[in-house]
């Protein structure tokens, strides 16, 4: 009995505190020990979170890449401010407005240059097969530098000649293999609408949702092809401001100067305008959100299943803990800790896998997929919320751990 006497430690202080205020990390440690004990279950859960993570990353990546390519045209514009008809919803179907608005802006001392840009569609005949397809025509004074399509600098002089165009080398293959023909034959003639035009070079824009292919030409050549259009109307005006001009101030002055038939927008606003159309006025944004949501739902169900079965297989033990004086809230915290641990443990490999997949997809397609901090943070928040929701659902199972039923 001597060894027993050694155990007669001072009695625990009378418990007067409510069952809170315990070391906050103890439930998390309990959760971690429980997760760690069942390796197979832990890896299933991590794989589930990882799956959701990769799916969401891919959906968001594709979405951003498609929107980027959809806004390739406005993104290629070089200008600080732009004039757009307020009724224009997207670049591929612009509403016209009087070209005189462009010249009016020159009244402002900070506007150095105002370049009208003309946009229209016409039928293109594939030079190899003769099959017709609709191509987007972009006409502007190519010498002004208001639009910066890669490759344009090489063809500026050539485009000044009558009936010449530069072809977008990233146009879909249905337009014919123009780069190869050009390399073989040199400049050659193609048919657009009812005219024969000479392809004098290649530029790069890329197909978008609105246009499968593009051709760039001078303002005059544009008018020759699109004859029925009122020549005093334009579709978009790019404004170059003088060095060091205060863009918002000029924007405000022009807003006061010009009538309500044009909107004055910055470069960022122009790109966002185009993007908003594809995101909100088409089902594309919804489709990707739906895909992301499905990933999160599947992930949540997996995490829920794991947490649920973890609780279900430990009901007597949890009930015993309650009989020992553990509050329900303590066990709830343990389950929520397990959920959030899974979020972190699944996110890390999910992120690494996604970075790898982005590279694979980007090299296999034209889509510009890149991981950025913002998207990483967004997805982490989504995964965290997903696991928290699964935890909240699973916590209800703890009600079954009733110590009164234990005896």
């Amino acid at each position: 009995m001597n060894e027993l006497r050694r155990l007669d430690l001072p009695a625990a202080p009378p418990a007067t505190r409510p069952p809170r205020g315990m070391n906050a990390l103890l439930p998390a440690r309990l959760a971690w020990r429980q997760l760690r004990a069942e390796r197979a279950r832990l890896f299933t859960a991590i794989a589930g979170v990882m799956f959701a993570c990769v799916l969401v990353f891919m959906q968001l990546g594709f979405r951003a890449a498609l929107f980027d390519s959809a806004t390739a045209l406005p993104q290629a514009m070089h200008g600080e401010l732009f004039l757009v008809n307020p009724m224009t919803t997207a670049m591929f179907k612009p509403e016209q407005f009087p070209r005189v608005r462009a010249f009016q802006t020159l009244a402002d001392p900070d506007v150095a240059q105002a370049v009208p840009i003309y946009l229209s569609f016409a039928t293109w005949r594939n030079p190899e097969t003769g099959v017709r397809r609709t191509i987007e025509l972009i006409g502007f004074d190519t010498a002004t530098g208001a639009v910066a399509f890669p490759g344009l600098e090489n063809v500026i002089e050539a485009l000044k000649r009558p009936d010449t165009i530069a072809f977008d080398r990233k146009s879909r293959p249905e337009f014919g293999d123009v780069p190869r023909l050009l390399a073989e034959r040199g400049p050659f003639e193609v048919q657009i609408a009812d005219r024969r035009l000479e392809i004098v070079g290649l530029i790069e824009i890329g197909p978008s949702f609105g246009a499968d292919g593009n051709a760039v030409m001078s303002e005059t050549n544009f008018r020759r092809i699109i004859g029925q259009r009122k020549s005093s109307n334009t579709d978009l005006v790019a404004l170059r401001l003088s060095e060091g001009a205060d863009i918002p101030a000029v924007q405000a002055r022009l807003r006061r100067l010009l009538p309500a038939d044009v909107s004055v927008v910055t470069y960022t606003e122009l790109v966002a305008w185009e993007r908003d159309y594809w995101e909100n006025a088409t089902p594309i944004g919804f489709i990707f959100m739906f895909g992301s949501l499905m990933g999160l739902v599947v992930g949540m169900v997996i995490v829920y299943q794991i947490l649920f079965s973890d609780i279900a297989s430990h009901i007597p033990e949890y009930a015993t803990l309650k009989a020992m004086g553990y509050a329900h809230a303590y066990l709830r915290r343990a389950v929520m800790s397990a959920a959030l641990l899974l979020a972190v443990l699944g996110f890390i490999p999910g992120l690494l896998t996604s970075i790898g997949l982005y590279e694979v997809v980007a090299s296999a397609t034209f889509l510009p997929l890149e991981m950025d901090l913002n998207r990483g943070a967004t997805v982490f928040c989504m995964i965290f919320a997903m696991c928290a929701a699964a935890g909240l659902l699973a916590v209800r199972k703890l009600r079954d751990a009733n110590p009164a039923d234990m005896f």
């Binding site: 020990r33 009989a323 004086g325």
Partner: protein
């Protein structure tokens, strides 16, 4: 009224399951006191209400009728928080050991000490180790329950119940899952540890082989205490 000298004082306790037409009384007019250091066995046929009485004393169930004071806490009308606090001062031993399979024996015992917000991890593990030594399992302290025999597991459960220096020990058929020898070992260990600290034990059992540890045997039938004479 009951003082701290009388760890359990019950007067006129009644309890029923179900409501309305389905209401089925399981305990009627229970009067019972357990004194400091006393070892009381509760026996009786199944359905006699002894387990329900144990869960009421253990603050695992809300009281319905009568007076029941356990370790100075009146249980009639006690809140959930008050009951949770009282449970921390009671040591429980179940028919099944109910140890957490993912923790070692020592960690399992330490779980009953983690409820004391003033203790450090080192203190808890040291005390848990000392407790395991007292039940003769010093060398198995770091084994998970799956590597212990049934009797060893139940001894870990005894260590866990006693580690928190409880004012009362409640046990429900602690020997039912054990063979005769291990069962005897466990209850004698329990008796010795409780005696050395003056902790009263209320033990529900069907097992005639362990009646010898009792100071008093109470028999229940049909929700009433039919006899409660002291042993010897």
């Amino acid at each position: 009224m009951a003082s701290a000298n009388v760890p359990v004082a019950i007067e006129g306790l009644a309890y029923a399951y179900g409501e309305g037409e389905l209401r089925r009384p399981v305990l009627r007019d229970i009067n019972l006191s357990i004194h400091a250091g006393e070892i009381v066995l509760l026996t009786g046929p199944s359905g006699s209400g002894k387990t329900t009485l144990l869960t009421l004393i253990g603050a695992l169930r809300a009281m319905q009728e009568g007076q029941c004071t356990v370790l100075g806490q009146q249980l009639l009308g006690a809140t959930e928080d008050q009951r949770v606090l009282l449970r921390r001062r009671i040591g429980y031993i179940f028919q099944q050991h109910n140890l957490l399979g993912f923790l070692t024996a020592r960690q399992n015992v330490a779980m009953s000490l983690e409820l004391d917000p003033g203790s450090t991890e080192a203190e808890r593990l040291a005390r848990a180790g000392a407790m395991l030594e007292a039940v003769g399992l010093a060398d198995r302290a770091d084994a998970p329950p799956s590597q212990l025999s049934g009797g060893q597991r139940q001894r870990v459960a005894v260590a866990r119940a006693l580690a928190g220096t409880p004012g009362l020990i409640l046990a429900d058929e602690p020997t039912a899952a054990l063979d005769r020898v291990s069962g005897q070992e466990v209850v004698h260990l329990l008796r010795d540890l409780a005696r050395s600290r003056g902790v009263p034990i209320l033990l529900v059992t069907h097992d005639p082989r362990i009646l010898d540890i009792a100071d008093r045997i109470i028999e229940m039938e049909d929700g009433r205490i039919t006899s409660g004479q002291p042993v010897d």
